[in-house]
């Protein structure tokens, strides 16, 4: 059992950091192991926002000489950014092992998909380095602990943006660590992130098929398959909604997942409708969550909500 939540402001922005924190805190009982946020801010021109980590939280507690290793790994990441023609416009504090950069590249150098992928691969080649997210709008934060703790740790309240998805995790298929926490960035696609509640029963077969096609997996968590699957379909030319519809047939098991791009929020539910999802939709706001109590955490007044049906795919634009 995990909890997932999503929200999108239509035609406006809001304090999505506080709103998503509130929704995920209301779902805390569905999963105490880790919490993750994918927040979509307002893009600053061509600047790229990158969040990455160079160690696990567990390593920081027990690793021998880990602080020196973290410094060395970070310095190597910085060097590789510079080598690819990038400039670190701003480095904002996150944690001892996770970092938040705003990057600027010389015009045109990061416009192509191949360039973007090569850059991501180059950075992740540094020992212990994993890019949590990279894009013009997406900021992905995930760590161990409940929503309140993670949100405070990373300074998320007050984050202005258009939309967000989030996840509270009860680990059932893999370890309690950051790399198994959601959301998953649909590497290497700019601004695509996924959260999932359920179990995928064709995980290993599908993973091997995608790996043979050159896709990379960073964890053994079945939920990562959805992000990689969608990335693969988009790479093959599918529109997001088409890829999601195709996933209903291709993914086996029980699942409800949310996906967000730079300007869209989407939801998909398996044909058994075995995992919950409650939806609230108005002219200026859409909220979805595993339980209505999450939506109620930001709407105290009476609202109309309903359950999307089996096999349903819905996509909203901001």
């Amino acid at each position: 059992m995990c909890g997932i939540a999503g929200l999108i402001h239509r035609g406006t922005t809001g304090d999505v950091g506080s709103e998503m924190t509130s929704m995920l805190q209301a779902l805390k009982h569905r999963g105490p192991d880790s919490t993750g946020f994918a927040l979509y801010g307002v893009p600053r021109g061509s600047e790229l926002v990158m969040r990455f980590k160079v160690a696990e939280q567990e390593e920081m507690r027990h690793g021998f000489d880990i602080h020196q290793q973290v410094r060395e790994r970070k310095a190597e990441v910085d060097r590789r950014i510079e080598a690819r023609g990038g400039t670190i416009v701003k480095e904002e504090p996150a944690t001892d092992y996770a970092f938040h950069y705003r990057l600027q590249f010389t015009e045109g150098s990061m416009g192509q998909f191949e360039e973007f992928k090569r850059f991501a691969d180059y950075l992740e080649d540094v020992e212990g380095a994993e890019i949590l997210s990279m894009g013009t709008a997406l900021q992905l934060v995930k760590d161990l602990g409940d929503a309140g703790r993670v949100s405070e740790q990373y300074g998320l309240p007050g984050f202005k943006g258009t939309h967000a998805i989030g996840h509270t995790r009860m680990a059932t298929e893999s370890d309690v660590d950051i790399r198994s926490a959601h959301p998953y960035w649909a590497y290497p696609f700019n601004d695509v992130a996924v959260v999932h509640n359920g179990q995928l029963t064709n995980y290993w077969g599908s993973r091997r098929a995608l790996e043979r096609r050159g896709q990379r997996f960073m964890s053994n968590c079945d939920s990562e398959l959805i992000a990689v699957y969608l990335a693969d379909r988009i790479e093959q030319g599918d529109e997001l909604e088409d890829a999601m519809r195709r996933s209903i047939g291709d993914l086996d098991g029980v699942f409800t997942y949310l996906v967000a791009t730079g300007d869209h929020l989407g939801m998909a539910k398996d044909t058994m409708a075995a995992k919950p999802m409650v939806l609230y939709e108005s002219d200026d706001f859409v909220g979805v969550a595993s339980e209505e109590v999450a939506i109620r955490s930001i709407f105290k007044n009476e609202i109309d909500t309903w359950d999307p049906y089996e096999g349903e795919v819905m996509v909203w634009h901001n």
């Binding site: 058994m272 409708a273 919950p276 339980e291 209505e292 109590v293 109620r296 009476e302 309903w306 359950d307």
Partner: protein, 283 residues
């Protein structure tokens, strides 16, 4: 050990709703419907329906709300209004008493489960598994409901005037479920007794593996499940349907005679007596 009774003179037989007593060790009935109507619990509170109390649930946890309901019943209040339930889980559960209970707002998961006797009205929506294992009374939801609505209910009337999710009435063992709108996939899955009336559309695998009971559908059926087959509505049933729907201010979209009736084909009944190869032939 109670003995199996001859139910041939039972009211439901006159209505054509049960044609056969299920067999097997687990199918003994210890109470008839008539007996259970008069059954009250020794610890039941004596309440006055003209005595009304309010609870503001905004700042209370679910168990505290339920405890307060019980305290008020103990003080003789027969009408309790709960304001600001805010979709909290497991509200109004385990009430084994006559009581008029109004929720002004929406409930979360497992609302009003395990109740035996109260008349409950919910002005908003309910989440998953509303009225699970309900024994008797009425529950009326004015808006929508989540999945597994009325799971394993034994008796009473459970009404949702809006749409409901999937697996409505899963493992239903009695009573009546009425849905004003549509219902999702696998509704009536493993239904064993009772009646379900869906005035809108029904999703795939309707009545899958149902043992007994009856499902009526006013809209389109996306697909029937294994061993669910069409039946014919007789005049006694039609009169009952008309009356039941009118009780809750509802009516069939094209008249009760045009509802589609779904019953068990009873090909899965004798599974204990069949060899695996024989089962394949049956299916």
């Amino acid at each position: 050990m109670a003995q199996l009774k001859d139910d041939s003179a039972h009211k439901s037989y006159e209505m054509g709703l049960h044609t056969e007593q299920l067999t097997g060790r687990s199918q003994q009935r210890f109470f008839s419907a008539e007996e259970s109507d008069n059954f009250t619990y020794p610890q039941a509170f004596v309440v006055d329906f003209d005595k009304t109390a309010e609870i503001d649930a905004a700042e209370l946890e679910g168990p505290a709300v339920n405890l307060r309901i019980r305290e008020l019943m103990g003080e003789g209040y027969g009408h309790i209004v709960v304001k600001n339930p805010l979709a909290k889980h497991s509200l109004g559960v385990g009430i084994l008493n006559r009581l008029k209970l109004d929720f002004e707002g929406s409930l979360g998961y497992f609302g009003c489960g395990l109740v035996d006797g109260p008349n409950i009205r919910i002005s908003g929506r309910v989440g998953w598994s509303c009225a699970e294992n309900m024994m008797a009374g009425t529950i009326v939801i004015e808006k929508n409901a989540g999945s597994t609505f009325g799971a394993a209910i034994r008796g009473g009337d459970l009404i949702c005037k809006g749409d409901v999710g999937s697996r409505t009435g899963i493992d239903q063992k009695g009573g009546t479920i009425i849905v004003g709108g549509r219902t999702g996939a696998f509704s009536g899955f493993m239904m064993q007794r009772g009646r379900m009336i869906i005035l809108g559309d029904a999703g795939i695998n309707l009545g899958d593996s149902m043992y007994d009971g009856t499902i009526y559908v006013g809209g389109k059926i996306a697909g029937l499940g294994v061993d669910a087959v069409p039946g014919e509505i007789n005049d006694v049933e039609a009169a009952w349907l008309e009356k039941k729907l009118a009780t809750f201010g509802l009516e069939a979209p094209s008249g009760v005679k045009n509802l589609q009736k779904i019953v068990s084909g009873k090909q899965l009944w004798n599974y204990d007596n069949l060899e695996p190869a024989e089962k394949k032939i049956v299916l």
